[in-house]
Amino acid sequence: MSNTDQDLPQHALERLKGLRSQGHPGGIFTSDFSVNEFLLVRKAGFEPVGLCIGSCIYHVGIQYGSWSKNQELDVLSQAMYHARELAMTRMREEAADMGADGVVGVQLTVKRLAWDANVLEFVAIGTGVVHAEGSPAFKGPKGQPFTSDLSGQDFWTLLQAGYRPLEMVMGSCVYHVAHRGFMKTLGQAGQNVELTNFSQAMYDAREIAMERMQNEATEARAEGVVGVDLHEGNHVWEPHVIEFFAVGTAVVPISSEPSASKIPDPQLVLSVNS
Protein backbone atom coordinates (compact mmCIF):
# COMPACT_ATOMS: atom_id res chain seq x y z
CA MET A 1 0.00 0.00 0.00
CA SER A 2 2.84 2.39 0.81
CA ASN A 3 3.97 2.13 -2.80
CA THR A 4 0.78 3.87 -3.87
CA ASP A 5 1.78 6.96 -1.92
CA GLN A 6 5.25 6.89 -3.47
CA ASP A 7 3.68 7.05 -6.91
CA LEU A 8 1.57 10.10 -6.15
CA PRO A 9 2.61 13.47 -7.52
CA GLN A 10 4.32 15.76 -5.04
CA HIS A 11 1.50 18.33 -5.01
CA ALA A 12 -1.00 15.60 -4.15
CA LEU A 13 1.13 14.36 -1.28
CA GLU A 14 1.46 17.88 0.08
CA ARG A 15 -2.23 18.44 -0.20
CA LEU A 16 -2.96 15.19 1.55
CA LYS A 17 -0.56 15.92 4.39
CA GLY A 18 -2.15 19.31 4.80
CA LEU A 19 -5.65 17.93 4.84
CA ARG A 20 -4.80 15.31 7.37
CA SER A 21 -2.97 17.58 9.75
CA GLN A 22 -5.93 19.96 10.04
CA GLY A 23 -8.31 17.56 11.69
CA HIS A 24 -5.85 14.91 12.76
CA PRO A 25 -2.44 15.98 13.99
CA GLY A 26 0.20 13.44 13.14
CA GLY A 27 -1.61 12.35 9.99
CA ILE A 28 -3.77 9.75 11.71
CA PHE A 29 -7.14 9.13 10.17
CA THR A 30 -10.15 7.55 11.82
CA SER A 31 -12.82 5.60 9.98
CA ASP A 32 -15.46 2.97 10.52
CA PHE A 33 -14.52 1.23 7.27
CA SER A 34 -13.96 -2.49 7.29
CA VAL A 35 -10.69 -3.64 5.73
CA ASN A 36 -12.46 -4.46 2.47
CA GLU A 37 -14.15 -1.07 2.32
CA PHE A 38 -10.88 0.67 3.08
CA LEU A 39 -9.06 -1.16 0.29
CA LEU A 40 -11.82 -0.54 -2.24
CA VAL A 41 -12.11 3.16 -1.38
CA ARG A 42 -8.36 3.43 -1.94
CA LYS A 43 -8.66 1.43 -5.12
CA ALA A 44 -11.26 3.95 -6.28
CA GLY A 45 -8.63 6.66 -5.84
CA PHE A 46 -9.71 8.07 -2.47
CA GLU A 47 -8.17 8.26 1.00
CA PRO A 48 -10.09 8.36 4.26
CA VAL A 49 -9.49 11.49 6.35
CA GLY A 50 -11.59 11.00 9.41
CA LEU A 51 -14.87 9.93 10.91
CA CYS A 52 -17.45 12.68 10.59
CA ILE A 53 -20.31 12.85 13.03
CA GLY A 54 -23.30 15.12 13.24
CA SER A 55 -25.96 14.77 15.85
CA CYS A 56 -29.06 16.56 16.92
CA ILE A 57 -31.20 16.01 19.96
CA TYR A 58 -34.63 17.24 19.10
CA HIS A 59 -37.81 17.80 21.02
CA VAL A 60 -40.67 16.71 18.83
CA GLY A 61 -43.72 18.89 19.25
CA ILE A 62 -47.12 17.46 19.99
CA GLN A 63 -49.80 17.30 17.36
CA TYR A 64 -52.88 15.19 17.10
CA GLY A 65 -54.86 14.64 13.95
CA SER A 66 -58.61 14.50 13.76
CA TRP A 67 -59.85 11.09 14.91
CA SER A 68 -61.51 10.22 11.62
CA LYS A 69 -59.35 12.10 9.12
CA ASN A 70 -56.47 11.01 6.90
CA GLN A 71 -53.96 13.83 7.05
CA GLU A 72 -50.30 14.69 7.15
CA LEU A 73 -49.18 15.81 10.60
CA ASP A 74 -47.13 18.83 9.56
CA VAL A 75 -45.54 19.52 12.95
CA LEU A 76 -44.20 15.97 13.24
CA SER A 77 -43.20 15.75 9.56
CA GLN A 78 -41.23 18.98 9.84
CA ALA A 79 -39.61 17.89 13.11
CA MET A 80 -38.41 14.56 11.68
CA TYR A 81 -37.12 16.26 8.55
CA HIS A 82 -35.54 19.24 10.28
CA ALA A 83 -33.74 17.14 12.90
CA ARG A 84 -32.24 14.80 10.29
CA GLU A 85 -31.25 17.76 8.15
CA LEU A 86 -29.45 19.34 11.14
CA ALA A 87 -27.57 16.13 11.92
CA MET A 88 -26.54 15.76 8.27
CA THR A 89 -25.50 19.42 7.97
CA ARG A 90 -23.34 19.15 11.08
CA MET A 91 -21.73 16.02 9.74
CA ARG A 92 -21.07 17.76 6.42
CA GLU A 93 -19.59 20.77 8.25
CA GLU A 94 -17.24 18.47 10.13
CA ALA A 95 -16.23 16.91 6.81
CA ALA A 96 -15.63 20.36 5.28
CA ASP A 97 -13.46 21.32 8.29
CA MET A 98 -11.31 18.27 7.64
CA GLY A 99 -11.03 19.26 3.99
CA ALA A 100 -12.85 16.12 2.86
CA ASP A 101 -14.24 15.89 -0.67
CA GLY A 102 -17.08 13.77 0.57
CA VAL A 103 -18.50 11.42 3.18
CA VAL A 104 -19.20 7.78 2.38
CA GLY A 105 -20.93 5.02 4.35
CA VAL A 106 -23.24 7.46 6.14
CA GLN A 107 -25.51 5.88 8.69
CA LEU A 108 -28.48 7.93 9.75
CA THR A 109 -30.15 6.71 12.91
CA VAL A 110 -32.92 7.84 15.23
CA LYS A 111 -32.77 6.94 18.89
CA ARG A 112 -35.31 7.44 21.60
CA LEU A 113 -34.03 8.95 24.82
CA ALA A 114 -35.04 7.40 28.10
CA TRP A 115 -36.19 10.43 30.02
CA ASP A 116 -38.76 11.84 27.62
CA ALA A 117 -40.73 10.10 24.90
CA ASN A 118 -40.83 13.28 22.83
CA VAL A 119 -37.08 13.73 22.75
CA LEU A 120 -35.29 11.96 19.91
CA GLU A 121 -31.63 11.81 19.04
CA PHE A 122 -30.67 11.89 15.37
CA VAL A 123 -27.13 10.84 14.49
CA ALA A 124 -25.35 10.83 11.16
CA ILE A 125 -21.95 9.07 11.00
CA GLY A 126 -19.75 8.51 7.98
CA THR A 127 -16.13 8.52 6.85
CA GLY A 128 -14.75 11.67 5.23
CA VAL A 129 -12.64 10.93 2.16
CA VAL A 130 -10.40 12.96 -0.15
CA HIS A 131 -9.44 12.31 -3.72
CA ALA A 132 -5.86 11.05 -3.60
CA GLU A 133 -4.79 13.11 -6.58
CA GLY A 134 -6.60 16.18 -5.40
CA SER A 135 -9.17 16.25 -8.18
CA PRO A 136 -11.84 18.83 -7.37
CA ALA A 137 -14.37 17.10 -9.63
CA PHE A 138 -15.90 14.98 -6.89
CA LYS A 139 -17.34 17.69 -4.66
CA GLY A 140 -21.07 17.75 -3.99
CA PRO A 141 -23.53 20.57 -4.76
CA LYS A 142 -22.25 24.14 -4.13
CA GLY A 143 -18.68 22.92 -3.61
CA GLN A 144 -19.66 21.20 -0.35
CA PRO A 145 -18.45 17.66 0.45
CA PHE A 146 -20.67 15.04 -1.17
CA THR A 147 -22.57 12.71 1.16
CA SER A 148 -23.59 9.13 0.48
CA ASP A 149 -24.93 6.16 2.39
CA LEU A 150 -23.15 3.77 0.03
CA SER A 151 -20.63 1.41 1.63
CA GLY A 152 -16.98 1.47 0.53
CA GLN A 153 -17.65 -1.43 -1.83
CA ASP A 154 -20.69 0.23 -3.33
CA PHE A 155 -18.80 3.49 -3.70
CA TRP A 156 -16.14 1.72 -5.79
CA THR A 157 -18.81 -0.02 -7.85
CA LEU A 158 -20.75 3.18 -8.46
CA LEU A 159 -17.63 4.90 -9.81
CA GLN A 160 -17.00 1.87 -12.05
CA ALA A 161 -20.54 2.23 -13.37
CA GLY A 162 -19.67 5.78 -14.42
CA TYR A 163 -21.49 7.72 -11.71
CA ARG A 164 -20.44 9.81 -8.73
CA PRO A 165 -22.47 10.55 -5.59
CA LEU A 166 -23.79 14.07 -5.01
CA GLU A 167 -25.68 13.95 -1.76
CA MET A 168 -27.97 11.89 0.36
CA VAL A 169 -31.51 12.91 -0.39
CA MET A 170 -34.50 12.21 1.77
CA GLY A 171 -38.21 12.73 2.13
CA SER A 172 -40.26 12.35 5.25
CA CYS A 173 -43.97 12.32 5.92
CA VAL A 174 -45.72 11.69 9.22
CA TYR A 175 -49.31 10.77 8.57
CA HIS A 176 -52.42 10.17 10.60
CA VAL A 177 -54.42 7.14 9.49
CA ALA A 178 -58.10 7.75 10.15
CA HIS A 179 -60.11 5.65 12.60
CA ARG A 180 -63.24 3.96 11.39
CA GLY A 181 -66.58 5.07 12.72
CA PHE A 182 -68.70 2.60 14.71
CA MET A 183 -71.41 2.33 12.04
CA LYS A 184 -68.87 1.70 9.28
CA THR A 185 -67.18 -1.01 11.38
CA LEU A 186 -70.56 -2.63 11.99
CA GLY A 187 -71.44 -2.48 8.28
CA GLN A 188 -68.27 -4.35 7.34
CA ALA A 189 -68.50 -7.03 10.03
CA GLY A 190 -68.20 -10.53 8.61
CA GLN A 191 -67.07 -9.42 5.16
CA ASN A 192 -63.74 -9.55 3.36
CA VAL A 193 -63.46 -5.99 2.08
CA GLU A 194 -60.83 -3.43 1.34
CA LEU A 195 -60.69 -0.49 3.77
CA THR A 196 -60.08 2.11 1.11
CA ASN A 197 -59.53 5.06 3.44
CA PHE A 198 -56.62 3.22 5.09
CA SER A 199 -55.14 2.14 1.75
CA GLN A 200 -55.45 5.72 0.62
CA ALA A 201 -53.64 6.99 3.75
CA MET A 202 -50.69 4.66 3.17
CA TYR A 203 -50.48 5.53 -0.50
CA ASP A 204 -50.71 9.26 0.06
CA ALA A 205 -48.10 9.32 2.82
CA ARG A 206 -45.62 7.31 0.76
CA GLU A 207 -46.31 9.40 -2.31
CA ILE A 208 -45.58 12.61 -0.37
CA ALA A 209 -42.29 11.19 1.01
CA MET A 210 -41.16 10.03 -2.46
CA GLU A 211 -42.14 13.34 -4.07
CA ARG A 212 -40.05 15.22 -1.51
CA MET A 213 -37.05 13.02 -2.10
CA GLN A 214 -37.38 13.48 -5.83
CA ASN A 215 -37.57 17.28 -5.39
CA GLU A 216 -34.35 17.21 -3.34
CA ALA A 217 -32.66 15.24 -6.11
CA THR A 218 -33.85 17.75 -8.72
CA GLU A 219 -32.44 20.60 -6.63
CA ALA A 220 -29.10 18.79 -6.37
CA ARG A 221 -29.16 18.49 -10.21
CA ALA A 222 -28.90 14.73 -9.99
CA GLU A 223 -29.60 12.35 -12.84
CA GLY A 224 -31.00 9.77 -10.46
CA VAL A 225 -31.15 8.36 -6.95
CA VAL A 226 -29.61 4.98 -6.16
CA GLY A 227 -30.25 2.66 -3.19
CA VAL A 228 -33.63 4.15 -2.33
CA ASP A 229 -34.92 2.79 0.94
CA LEU A 230 -38.41 3.38 2.23
CA HIS A 231 -38.70 2.98 5.97
CA GLU A 232 -41.96 2.83 7.79
CA GLY A 233 -41.71 3.79 11.43
CA ASN A 234 -43.97 4.68 14.26
CA HIS A 235 -41.37 6.03 16.74
CA VAL A 236 -43.29 7.22 19.78
CA TRP A 237 -46.63 8.24 18.46
CA GLU A 238 -50.09 6.83 18.91
CA PRO A 239 -50.94 3.65 16.95
CA HIS A 240 -52.63 5.39 14.02
CA VAL A 241 -49.62 7.60 13.26
CA ILE A 242 -46.87 6.41 10.95
CA GLU A 243 -43.78 7.93 9.41
CA PHE A 244 -42.69 7.17 5.88
CA PHE A 245 -39.04 7.99 5.39
CA ALA A 246 -37.34 7.71 2.03
CA VAL A 247 -33.58 7.96 1.75
CA GLY A 248 -31.07 7.36 -1.05
CA THR A 249 -27.96 8.73 -2.76
CA ALA A 250 -28.42 11.21 -5.60
CA VAL A 251 -25.93 10.50 -8.39
CA VAL A 252 -24.72 12.09 -11.60
CA PRO A 253 -22.60 10.67 -14.47
CA ILE A 254 -18.87 11.38 -13.97
CA SER A 255 -18.50 12.98 -17.40
CA SER A 256 -20.91 11.44 -19.80
CA GLU A 257 -22.63 8.10 -19.31
CA PRO A 258 -20.42 5.21 -20.44
CA SER A 259 -21.93 2.97 -23.08
CA ALA A 260 -23.24 -0.31 -21.68
CA SER A 261 -20.57 -2.34 -23.47
CA LYS A 262 -17.78 -0.44 -21.66
CA ILE A 263 -18.94 -1.67 -18.25
CA PRO A 264 -17.03 -4.85 -17.34
CA ASP A 265 -19.00 -8.07 -17.21
CA PRO A 266 -18.66 -9.72 -13.79
CA GLN A 267 -17.46 -13.32 -13.59
CA LEU A 268 -19.46 -16.11 -12.05
CA VAL A 269 -17.64 -17.78 -9.18
CA LEU A 270 -18.53 -20.78 -7.08
CA SER A 271 -17.28 -20.88 -3.56
CA VAL A 272 -15.78 -24.27 -2.73
CA ASN A 273 -15.77 -23.52 0.97
CA SER A 274 -18.56 -25.87 1.83
Partner: protein, 313 residues
Amino acid sequence: MSWLSWLTGGQTPAEAEQARLASEADARRLAEWETALQRGRLPGFVAERLQAASAGRTPWLTTMTAAELMLARSHGIRPIATVSGTCWFHYGYSWTKGHSAGWHAALSRLKLEAAAAGANAVVDVKMRRINLDIGESMDFTVLGTAVRFDGLPPSPDPVVATVPALEFARLLEAGIVPVGIGIGAHYEWLSRGGNLDGAGSFSNRPLTGLGNFWERVRRIAHAELRRDTAAQGNGVLAHTHFGQLFKIENDDAPGRYLGRHIVVGTIVDAPRRLPVPHGIEMVLDMNEAASPLSTASRHGHTAYDGVDQEGEI
Protein backbone atom coordinates in the same frame (compact mmCIF):
# COMPACT_ATOMS: atom_id res chain seq x y z
CA MET B 1 -56.84 40.48 20.54
CA SER B 2 -59.02 42.30 18.02
CA TRP B 3 -62.37 40.82 17.03
CA LEU B 4 -60.97 40.10 13.58
CA SER B 5 -57.99 38.14 14.85
CA TRP B 6 -60.25 36.42 17.39
CA LEU B 7 -62.54 35.32 14.56
CA THR B 8 -59.62 34.02 12.49
CA GLY B 9 -57.87 32.30 15.39
CA GLY B 10 -55.07 34.88 15.66
CA GLN B 11 -54.17 34.71 11.95
CA THR B 12 -53.85 37.66 9.61
CA PRO B 13 -56.35 37.64 6.72
CA ALA B 14 -53.55 36.64 4.34
CA GLU B 15 -52.53 33.74 6.58
CA ALA B 16 -56.13 32.66 6.95
CA GLU B 17 -56.57 32.70 3.17
CA GLN B 18 -53.39 30.65 2.76
CA ALA B 19 -54.60 28.12 5.34
CA ARG B 20 -57.97 27.87 3.57
CA LEU B 21 -56.30 27.24 0.22
CA ALA B 22 -53.98 24.61 1.74
CA SER B 23 -56.89 22.83 3.34
CA GLU B 24 -58.82 22.89 0.04
CA ALA B 25 -55.80 21.44 -1.77
CA ASP B 26 -55.58 18.66 0.85
CA ALA B 27 -59.27 17.88 0.43
CA ARG B 28 -58.89 17.78 -3.36
CA ARG B 29 -55.93 15.41 -3.05
CA LEU B 30 -57.84 13.07 -0.76
CA ALA B 31 -60.89 13.14 -3.03
CA GLU B 32 -58.70 12.30 -5.99
CA TRP B 33 -57.25 9.28 -4.14
CA GLU B 34 -60.72 8.06 -3.28
CA THR B 35 -62.00 8.25 -6.84
CA ALA B 36 -58.82 6.68 -8.19
CA LEU B 37 -58.99 3.69 -5.81
CA GLN B 38 -62.67 3.14 -6.54
CA ARG B 39 -62.15 3.21 -10.30
CA GLY B 40 -58.93 1.20 -10.33
CA ARG B 41 -56.76 3.95 -11.77
CA LEU B 42 -54.06 6.34 -10.52
CA PRO B 43 -54.59 9.86 -9.15
CA GLY B 44 -53.50 12.51 -11.68
CA PHE B 45 -50.59 13.74 -9.57
CA VAL B 46 -49.12 10.22 -9.18
CA ALA B 47 -49.38 9.53 -12.92
CA GLU B 48 -47.79 12.90 -13.61
CA ARG B 49 -44.82 12.19 -11.31
CA LEU B 50 -44.24 8.80 -12.93
CA GLN B 51 -44.53 10.16 -16.46
CA ALA B 52 -42.07 12.95 -15.63
CA ALA B 53 -39.55 10.38 -14.34
CA SER B 54 -40.18 8.22 -17.40
CA ALA B 55 -39.49 11.10 -19.77
CA GLY B 56 -36.31 12.03 -17.87
CA ARG B 57 -37.71 15.41 -16.73
CA THR B 58 -37.12 14.42 -13.08
CA PRO B 59 -34.39 12.18 -11.61
CA TRP B 60 -34.94 8.44 -11.63
CA LEU B 61 -35.35 6.66 -8.30
CA THR B 62 -34.23 3.12 -7.67
CA THR B 63 -33.95 0.69 -4.78
CA MET B 64 -30.96 -0.88 -6.58
CA THR B 65 -27.57 -0.92 -4.91
CA ALA B 66 -24.58 0.48 -6.79
CA ALA B 67 -23.59 -3.04 -7.89
CA GLU B 68 -27.08 -3.69 -9.18
CA LEU B 69 -27.11 -0.37 -11.00
CA MET B 70 -23.85 -1.26 -12.70
CA LEU B 71 -25.10 -4.64 -13.85
CA ALA B 72 -28.46 -3.21 -14.89
CA ARG B 73 -26.70 -0.59 -17.02
CA SER B 74 -24.37 -3.10 -18.62
CA HIS B 75 -27.44 -5.16 -19.58
CA GLY B 76 -29.37 -2.20 -20.97
CA ILE B 77 -31.81 -1.91 -18.07
CA ARG B 78 -32.69 1.62 -16.95
CA PRO B 79 -34.38 2.47 -13.65
CA ILE B 80 -37.31 4.87 -13.86
CA ALA B 81 -39.05 5.21 -10.50
CA THR B 82 -39.90 3.37 -7.33
CA VAL B 83 -43.46 2.15 -7.59
CA SER B 84 -45.81 0.72 -5.01
CA GLY B 85 -49.23 -0.71 -4.40
CA THR B 86 -51.21 -0.83 -1.19
CA CYS B 87 -54.49 -2.43 -0.24
CA TRP B 88 -55.74 -2.29 3.32
CA PHE B 89 -57.97 -5.28 3.72
CA HIS B 90 -60.53 -6.10 6.37
CA TYR B 91 -60.95 -9.79 7.12
CA GLY B 92 -64.54 -10.82 7.41
CA TYR B 93 -65.29 -14.43 6.55
CA SER B 94 -61.67 -15.43 6.02
CA TRP B 95 -58.32 -14.21 7.31
CA THR B 96 -56.56 -16.60 4.96
CA LYS B 97 -58.49 -15.78 1.81
CA GLY B 98 -58.19 -12.11 2.76
CA HIS B 99 -54.41 -12.46 2.46
CA SER B 100 -54.68 -13.79 -1.04
CA ALA B 101 -57.12 -11.07 -2.11
CA GLY B 102 -55.14 -8.29 -0.40
CA TRP B 103 -51.82 -9.21 -2.04
CA HIS B 104 -53.42 -9.59 -5.47
CA ALA B 105 -55.08 -6.16 -5.20
CA ALA B 106 -51.77 -4.55 -4.11
CA LEU B 107 -49.92 -6.24 -6.98
CA SER B 108 -52.39 -5.03 -9.59
CA ARG B 109 -51.96 -1.47 -8.25
CA LEU B 110 -48.18 -1.80 -8.44
CA LYS B 111 -48.57 -2.79 -12.09
CA LEU B 112 -50.78 0.22 -12.69
CA GLU B 113 -47.99 2.53 -11.49
CA ALA B 114 -45.37 0.63 -13.49
CA ALA B 115 -47.45 0.93 -16.65
CA ALA B 116 -47.87 4.67 -16.05
CA ALA B 117 -44.07 4.92 -15.79
CA GLY B 118 -43.77 3.25 -19.22
CA ALA B 119 -41.88 0.31 -17.72
CA ASN B 120 -41.20 -3.18 -19.04
CA ALA B 121 -40.69 -4.69 -15.60
CA VAL B 122 -40.63 -4.04 -11.86
CA VAL B 123 -37.61 -5.52 -10.07
CA ASP B 124 -36.71 -6.02 -6.42
CA VAL B 125 -40.38 -6.21 -5.41
CA LYS B 126 -40.81 -6.59 -1.66
CA MET B 127 -44.01 -7.54 0.08
CA ARG B 128 -44.38 -5.60 3.29
CA ARG B 129 -46.87 -4.98 6.01
CA ILE B 130 -46.88 -2.18 8.50
CA ASN B 131 -47.35 -2.90 12.13
CA LEU B 132 -50.33 -0.73 12.97
CA ASP B 133 -52.71 -2.51 15.25
CA ILE B 134 -56.00 -1.82 13.54
CA GLY B 135 -58.22 -4.73 14.46
CA GLU B 136 -59.06 -7.54 12.03
CA SER B 137 -57.36 -5.86 9.12
CA MET B 138 -53.94 -5.53 7.61
CA ASP B 139 -52.24 -3.49 4.97
CA PHE B 140 -50.71 -5.28 2.01
CA THR B 141 -47.93 -3.25 0.47
CA VAL B 142 -45.67 -4.10 -2.46
CA LEU B 143 -42.72 -1.90 -3.38
CA GLY B 144 -40.24 -2.12 -6.23
CA THR B 145 -38.29 -0.32 -8.95
CA ALA B 146 -39.89 0.13 -12.38
CA VAL B 147 -37.33 -0.40 -15.15
CA ARG B 148 -37.21 -0.08 -18.92
CA PHE B 149 -35.12 -2.13 -21.33
CA ASP B 150 -33.18 -0.25 -23.98
CA GLY B 151 -34.85 -0.75 -27.32
CA LEU B 152 -38.10 -2.23 -25.99
CA PRO B 153 -41.40 -0.33 -26.17
CA PRO B 154 -43.25 0.25 -22.85
CA SER B 155 -45.32 -2.74 -21.80
CA PRO B 156 -49.02 -2.48 -20.95
CA ASP B 157 -48.54 -5.42 -18.57
CA PRO B 158 -45.10 -5.09 -16.93
CA VAL B 159 -43.38 -8.15 -15.49
CA VAL B 160 -43.15 -8.17 -11.67
CA ALA B 161 -39.94 -9.71 -10.27
CA THR B 162 -39.22 -10.19 -6.58
CA VAL B 163 -35.56 -10.79 -7.31
CA PRO B 164 -33.11 -7.86 -7.15
CA ALA B 165 -31.90 -6.34 -10.42
CA LEU B 166 -28.62 -8.25 -10.07
CA GLU B 167 -30.34 -11.61 -10.15
CA PHE B 168 -32.93 -10.42 -12.67
CA ALA B 169 -30.19 -9.68 -15.19
CA ARG B 170 -28.50 -13.02 -14.47
CA LEU B 171 -31.75 -14.93 -14.98
CA LEU B 172 -32.46 -13.08 -18.23
CA GLU B 173 -29.00 -14.03 -19.51
CA ALA B 174 -29.93 -17.65 -18.95
CA GLY B 175 -33.19 -17.16 -20.81
CA ILE B 176 -35.30 -17.31 -17.64
CA VAL B 177 -37.82 -14.52 -16.99
CA PRO B 178 -39.17 -13.93 -13.49
CA VAL B 179 -42.70 -12.80 -14.28
CA GLY B 180 -44.67 -12.29 -11.12
CA ILE B 181 -45.72 -13.39 -7.67
CA GLY B 182 -47.85 -16.46 -7.12
CA ILE B 183 -50.03 -16.84 -4.04
CA GLY B 184 -51.89 -19.85 -2.70
CA ALA B 185 -53.98 -19.70 0.46
CA HIS B 186 -56.32 -22.16 2.10
CA TYR B 187 -58.05 -22.54 5.46
CA GLU B 188 -60.33 -25.19 6.79
CA TRP B 189 -62.16 -26.05 10.00
CA LEU B 190 -62.11 -29.56 11.40
CA SER B 191 -64.88 -30.28 13.88
CA ARG B 192 -65.09 -34.06 13.68
CA GLY B 193 -65.63 -35.66 17.07
CA GLY B 194 -63.21 -38.00 18.79
CA ASN B 195 -59.89 -37.48 20.49
CA LEU B 196 -57.82 -36.22 17.59
CA ASP B 197 -54.82 -34.90 19.47
CA GLY B 198 -54.32 -37.81 21.84
CA ALA B 199 -55.14 -35.83 25.00
CA GLY B 200 -55.02 -37.99 28.12
CA SER B 201 -53.22 -40.83 26.35
CA PHE B 202 -49.96 -42.29 27.71
CA SER B 203 -48.90 -44.18 24.60
CA ASN B 204 -46.90 -43.11 21.59
CA ARG B 205 -49.03 -42.92 18.49
CA PRO B 206 -49.23 -40.85 15.37
CA LEU B 207 -52.18 -38.43 15.25
CA THR B 208 -53.34 -39.60 11.88
CA GLY B 209 -56.63 -37.72 11.76
CA LEU B 210 -55.08 -34.38 12.59
CA GLY B 211 -52.05 -35.07 10.41
CA ASN B 212 -54.18 -35.87 7.39
CA PHE B 213 -56.24 -32.73 7.94
CA TRP B 214 -53.13 -30.52 8.15
CA GLU B 215 -51.63 -32.22 5.11
CA ARG B 216 -54.82 -31.57 3.14
CA VAL B 217 -54.87 -27.86 4.02
CA ARG B 218 -51.29 -27.49 2.85
CA ARG B 219 -51.87 -29.47 -0.32
CA ILE B 220 -54.86 -27.34 -1.32
CA ALA B 221 -52.88 -24.13 -0.71
CA HIS B 222 -50.12 -25.46 -2.98
CA ALA B 223 -52.67 -26.47 -5.61
CA GLU B 224 -53.97 -22.90 -5.58
CA LEU B 225 -50.40 -21.63 -5.97
CA ARG B 226 -49.99 -23.87 -9.00
CA ARG B 227 -53.21 -22.52 -10.51
CA ASP B 228 -52.06 -18.95 -9.89
CA THR B 229 -48.69 -19.80 -11.47
CA ALA B 230 -50.09 -21.50 -14.56
CA ALA B 231 -51.71 -18.24 -15.66
CA GLN B 232 -48.33 -16.48 -15.81
CA GLY B 233 -45.40 -18.86 -16.19
CA ASN B 234 -44.19 -22.42 -15.79
CA GLY B 235 -42.47 -22.53 -12.41
CA VAL B 236 -42.26 -21.05 -8.93
CA LEU B 237 -39.07 -20.27 -7.00
CA ALA B 238 -38.22 -19.01 -3.53
CA HIS B 239 -41.28 -20.10 -1.63
CA THR B 240 -42.35 -18.44 1.57
CA HIS B 241 -44.61 -20.63 3.67
CA PHE B 242 -46.78 -19.59 6.51
CA GLY B 243 -48.96 -22.09 8.30
CA GLN B 244 -50.83 -22.31 11.57
CA LEU B 245 -52.85 -25.02 13.25
CA PHE B 246 -55.10 -23.97 16.13
CA LYS B 247 -57.33 -25.83 18.52
CA ILE B 248 -60.34 -23.88 19.70
CA GLU B 249 -61.76 -25.37 22.91
CA ASN B 250 -65.36 -25.11 23.82
CA ASP B 251 -66.88 -26.15 27.18
CA ASP B 252 -70.05 -27.78 25.88
CA ALA B 253 -68.77 -29.19 22.54
CA PRO B 254 -65.73 -31.14 21.34
CA GLY B 255 -62.76 -28.96 20.32
CA ARG B 256 -62.54 -27.63 16.78
CA TYR B 257 -59.36 -27.30 14.80
CA LEU B 258 -58.41 -24.62 12.34
CA GLY B 259 -55.65 -25.10 9.80
CA ARG B 260 -54.47 -22.33 7.53
CA HIS B 261 -51.64 -22.12 5.11
CA ILE B 262 -50.34 -19.41 2.83
CA VAL B 263 -47.60 -19.97 0.29
CA VAL B 264 -46.02 -17.29 -1.85
CA GLY B 265 -43.43 -17.66 -4.60
CA THR B 266 -41.73 -15.96 -7.53
CA ILE B 267 -43.18 -17.17 -10.81
CA VAL B 268 -40.69 -17.81 -13.61
CA ASP B 269 -40.97 -18.60 -17.26
CA ALA B 270 -38.05 -20.98 -17.81
CA PRO B 271 -37.53 -22.84 -21.09
CA ARG B 272 -35.89 -26.20 -20.50
CA ARG B 273 -32.28 -27.03 -21.33
CA LEU B 274 -31.00 -23.56 -22.17
CA PRO B 275 -27.27 -23.34 -21.41
CA VAL B 276 -25.88 -20.72 -19.00
CA PRO B 277 -23.71 -18.43 -21.13
CA HIS B 278 -20.84 -18.13 -18.61
CA GLY B 279 -18.05 -20.30 -17.35
CA ILE B 280 -17.94 -20.76 -13.60
CA GLU B 281 -14.74 -20.06 -11.74
CA MET B 282 -14.00 -22.04 -8.58
CA VAL B 283 -12.78 -19.88 -5.71
CA LEU B 284 -11.77 -20.55 -2.15
CA ASP B 285 -13.10 -17.86 0.16
CA MET B 286 -10.59 -17.15 2.91
CA ASN B 287 -13.09 -15.13 4.92
CA GLU B 288 -13.79 -16.61 8.35
CA ALA B 289 -16.91 -14.64 8.99
CA ALA B 290 -20.11 -14.82 6.96
CA SER B 291 -19.30 -13.87 3.40
CA PRO B 292 -21.52 -13.10 0.44
CA LEU B 293 -19.76 -15.97 -1.30
CA SER B 294 -20.81 -18.54 1.25
CA THR B 295 -24.20 -17.21 2.29
CA ALA B 296 -27.31 -16.85 0.19
CA SER B 297 -28.54 -13.31 -0.37
CA ARG B 298 -31.76 -12.48 1.42
CA HIS B 299 -34.49 -11.15 -0.71
CA GLY B 300 -37.99 -11.82 -1.85
CA HIS B 301 -41.06 -11.97 0.31
CA THR B 302 -40.56 -10.51 3.72
CA ALA B 303 -44.16 -10.04 4.73
CA TYR B 304 -44.58 -13.27 6.67
CA ASP B 305 -41.45 -13.04 8.80
CA GLY B 306 -42.53 -13.46 12.38
CA VAL B 307 -46.27 -13.27 11.74
CA ASP B 308 -47.97 -14.52 14.82
CA GLN B 309 -51.08 -12.46 15.23
CA GLU B 310 -54.46 -14.07 15.11
CA GLY B 311 -57.31 -12.92 13.01
CA GLU B 312 -60.90 -13.72 12.32
CA ILE B 313 -61.69 -16.53 9.97
